[in-house]
C-alpha cells in the first residue's frame, strides 16, 4: 500500500479524503502547542504582529482565516467562489483537471484552499502567511489555491506546508493558480516540511502581465517521501520578470523531483531560475526549463548540487528558443565540496568540520529576500543537522 508504481506515481484512491473537522480558532495564540511548533517550522508565526493576514488549513478544516490589512483579502476558496462569480474564470484556467491522476482527484473531490487577493495598488505591509497541514494518518489533502495580485499591488506570501509528527502517511495535492497583473509584484516563499512517507504533488501555474514581477522562493530541507512538482510560469506581458530560488536538502529516504518552467512570451520578459541542492543520501532531480517564444527575451538557469557522502543528483537544465535574438544560458554543476575550499578555510583557523559547514552554509545561501528571522534560524539548524547526517 502507498507504494510508488514504476512511473513514480502513487494511487490517490489509496488515501482517504475524509477527516474529522477541527474547530475554528479565533486567536492564533490559542493554537495547540504541538501544532504551534509544526506551524512555526514552516514559517508561520502564531504571534501574527508581523503578518498582514493568516490562513491555516488543518486536514479539511480551515482553522483560522483572517486579514488585518484593508485591501488584502484572504478567504476560503469555497467561500470566495460563492462571493465572486468572476472567480470561475480563474479556476482551472491553465491546468486541466485531466492533466494527471492528481488533478483529476483534486477536481473530483475538491477540498479547501485559500483565495488571496491584493486589490489594485495595495502594498502588503507585512507578509501574508498560509499553512496547509496534514494531521490525519493516511489522509489525502486536496487543495485549490488562487492568488491574485491586481494592477500595481505588491504581495508577499509565506506559504508553509507541514505534517503532524504522528501522521506517518499522507498525500497532498495542491492545485495553485497565481495571477500577477500589470505592474504588480508577487513574492511567494514556500517552505515544505513533510514526512518520510508523505507524497506531495503540487500543480501550479502562474501568469504575469506587463511589468509584473513574480519571485518564488522554495525551501525543502526535511525528508519527504516523494515530492514531484514542476510549476509553469507564463510571462505574458512585456517587461515581466520571474525569479526562482530553490534550496533543497535530501536526506536518505527522500525523493524529490522538482523544477520550474518559465515561458517567455512577450518582449523583454526575463527569467532566472536558481537552485541549490544537497543530498546526504536522498534522490534529487532538479529541473529547470526556460522557453523563449519571442525575440528580445532573456533567461538564465543555474543549477548547483552537492553530494555529501551518498545519494543521487540529477540536474536537468533545458533551454528552448523559438525565436531569434534571445539570450538564454544555463550553468549546472554537480559534485562534492572542493578540497581547496576546505583547506583554504583551515588555513584561516577553522577545523575541517567547521570549514565544511561554512561552505555548505554558503552554498545554500541563495539570496532569499525577506526571509523571516525564524526561517533563517531554521535554515541554520538544518544545515547543522545536515552536517551530522554526513559525518
Amino acid at each position: 500500500m502507498y507504494k510508488l508504481d514504476s512511473n513514480g506515481e502513487v494511487n490517490p484512491k489509496d488515501f482517504s479524503t475524509e477527516a474529522e473537522s477541527h474547530d475554528y480558532i479565533e486567536d492564533l495564540a490559542q493554537i495547540d502547542g504541538s501544532d504551534t511548533a509544526e506551524f512555526e517550522n514552516v514559517g508561520v508565526e502564531t504571534d501574527d504582529s508581523n503578518r498582514s493576514a493568516t490562513f491555516i488549513l488543518k486536514d479539511l478544516s480551515v482553522v483560522h482565516c483572517k486579514s488585518k490589512q484593508e485591501g488584502i483579502e484572504v478567504l476560503k476558496i469555497t467561500e470566495a467562489m460563492d462571493k465572486y462569480d468572476w472567480l470561475k474564470d480563474y479556476m482551472w484556467k491553465d491546468i486541466s483537471p485531466e492533466k494527471d491522476i492528481y488533478t483529476q482527484q483534486a477536481s473530483e473531490s475538491p477540498g479547501e484552499g485559500f483565495f488571496i487577493r491584493a486589490e489594485k495598488g495595495v502594498v502588503s505591509k507585512r507578509p501574508v502567511q498560509t499553512c496547509l497541514h496534514i494531521s490525519k494518518e493516511g489522509f489525502a489533502q486536496n487543495v485549490h489555491n488562487i492568488v491574485i495580485v491586481e494592477e500595481g499591488a505588491e504581495l508577499h506570501v509565506i506559504a508553509g506546508c507541514s505534517t503532524a509528527r504522528h501522521a506517518e502517511r499522507g498525500l497532498h495535492i495542491g492545485v495553485s493558480e497565481f495571477y500577477v497583473k500589470k505592474g504588480a509584484t508577487l513574492k511567494y516563499t514556500m517552505v515544505h516540511d513533510w514526512g518520510e512517507k508523505i507524497f506531495v504533488r503540487p500543480r501550479t501555474v502562474t501568469h504575469v502581465d506587463e511589468g509584473g514581477v513574480y519571485i518564488s522562493n522554495y525551501i525543502s530541507m526535511k525528508p519527504v517521501g516523494s515530492l514531484q512538482m514542476n510549476p509553469i510560469t507564463y510571462l505574458d506581458g512585456k517587461d515581466s520578470i520571474a525569479r526562482f530560488n530553490s534550496v533543497l536538502v535530501a536526506a536518505g529516504g527522500t525523493d524529490m523531483d522538482t523544477g520550474s518552467v518559465v515561458v517567455l512570451g512577450a518582449e523583454n520578459a526575463r527569467a532566472e531560475i536558481i537552485s541549490r541542492a544537497i543530498t546526504t543520501g536522498g534522490n534529487i532531480i532538479a529541473r529547470g526549463s526556460i522557453i523563449g517564444n519571442v525575440p528580445g527575451v532573456r533567461g538564465h538557469l543555474e543549477c548547483k548540487g552537492l553530494i555529501l557522502n551518498d545519494g543521487l543528483l540529477h540536474a536537468i537544465p533545458e533551454l528552448e528558443a523559438h525565436a531569434p535574438n534571445v539570450e538564454m544560458s544555463h550553468e549546472a554543476a554537480v559534485g562534492k565540496i572542493d578540497q581547496r575550499e576546505i583547506e583554504y578555510l583551515m588555513a584561516r583557523g577553522l577545523d575541517e568540520d567547521e570549514a565544511i559547514s561554512t561552505i555548505v552554509r554558503g552554498f545554500l545561501n541563495v539570496d532569499i529576500e525577506g526571509l523571516p528571522p525564524s526561517l533563517v534560524r531554521k535554515l541554520d539548524r538544518v544545515i547543522a543537522d545536515t552536517q551530522d547526517d554526513m559525518m
Binding site: Q339, Y344, L345, M346, A347, R348, G349, L350, D351, G362
Partner: protein, 252 residues
C-alpha cells in the same frame, strides 16, 4: 621561529622538494627567490600543511614544536598565516564573514581593516569572487591582518598588481609585519620599535616587492633544492644581471 631540516616532499609520488633547509629567526623577513616551477609555492603549502604535499623526509618545527604532520588548522592556530596566490572563491561566504573567521576570538574592527586596504566595498561580496590580481592580494592581506599570525607566508605578493597599488601593498605588508614607518594613531617611533616584528617568508619571482619591504635574508630555490643563503638584495642583483640561468649552474 621556523626551522626546516632536510625536507623532502612529494606530490603524487613525484619529488618536488629535496633536502630543503631553512631557518627563519623571530622577527626576520626572508625572501625566497626562484624561477617558475622551482617549488616555491610547494614549500609554502607544505609549511601550511596542505594535504597534497607528502613529507617523506625531514621535519618542520615552529616555535620549537614539531609540526611536520600537524593538520592545517592547528598550524594556523599556532600562528602561521598564508597569503595565497590563487585562493578559491567560496560561494555565499562574504569577505566580511571570512575576515571574522580569521579574527577568531580576537577583537577585529573589520570595517577599519578593510578601509586600510581599500576593500570596504568588497566586504559584502563573496570572498575572492571575480577579483583582479591586485584585489586578491589586498583581500589576502586583509584576512591576515585579522588573523595576526606570527609567521607570515606571502606567495608572490606583487604579481598581478599594478604600479600604483604596489606601494599600498608594500605598506600593508610592513604594517602586518610591524615593520612599517607609517604611524597609526598615537604610536611614536619608540613605541613602534618595541612591538616585536613578525617573521615572514616572502616568495618572489621578480623581486619587485623588495623596493617596498625590508628583507633580512634571501635564498634561491631551484629545482626543489635550496641554495645561496645570503643578503636578499645581493641575490636580486645577481638574478637581475644574469637571470636564473646563473643559479642553475650552482645546482650542477
Amino acid at each position: 621561529m621556523l626551522r626546516i631540516e632536510d625536507l623532502r616532499v612529494e606530490i603524487g609520488g613525484k619529488a618536488v622538494l629535496q633536502n630543503v633547509n631553512l631557518h627563519i629567526p623571530a622577527g626576520e623577513t626572508h625572501i625566497l627567490f626562484g624561477p617558475n616551477g622551482s617549488g616555491k609555492t610547494s614549500l609554502m603549502l607544505t609549511i601550511m600543511g596542505y594535504s597534497n604535499y607528502k613529507v617523506t623526509r625531514g621535519r618542520i618545527t615552529f616555535k620549537g614544536e614539531d609540526i611536520t604532520y600537524l593538520p592545517i588548522h592547528e598550524r594556523a592556530r599556532l600562528g602561521i598565516g598564508v597569503s595565497f596566490q590563487r585562493p578559491p572563491t567560496i560561494n555565499g561566504l562574504s569577505l566580511r564573514k571570512m575576515v571574522e573567521i580569521c579574527s577568531s576570538d580576537r577583537e577585529a574592527n573589520v570595517d577599519h581593516l578593510a578601509e586600510q586596504v581599500n576593500l570596504s566595498s568588497f566586504l559584502e561580496r563573496d570572498v575572492n569572487a571575480n577579483l583582479s590580481g591586485g584585489e586578491i592580494k589586498r583581500s589576502e592581506l586583509l584576512q591576515l591582518s585579522a588573523q595576526q599570525p606570527d609567521l607570515v607566508l606571502l606567495d608572490e605578493p606583487e604579481s598581478g598588481v599594478d604600479l600604483e597599488n604596489i606601494a599600498l601593498l608594500g605598506e600593508s605588508i610592513n604594517a602586518l609585519l610591524n615593520r612599517g614607518v607609517k604611524r597609526s594613531g598615537s604610536d611614536v617611533h619608540k613605541g613602534m620599535m618595541q612591538k616585536r616584528s613578525k617573521s615572514a617568508l616572502v616568495i618572489t619571482h621578480t623581486g619587485h616587492i623588495l623596493d617596498y619591504i625590508t628583507a633580512d635574508r634571501g635564498q634561491v630555490l631551484n629545482n626543489g633544492v635550496m641554495q645561496c643563503s645570503q643578503n636578499a638584495r645581493e641575490i636580486l642583483k645577481w638574478i637581475r644581471e644574469y637571470g636564473y640561468q646563473e643559479c642553475m649552474t650552482c645546482t650542477n
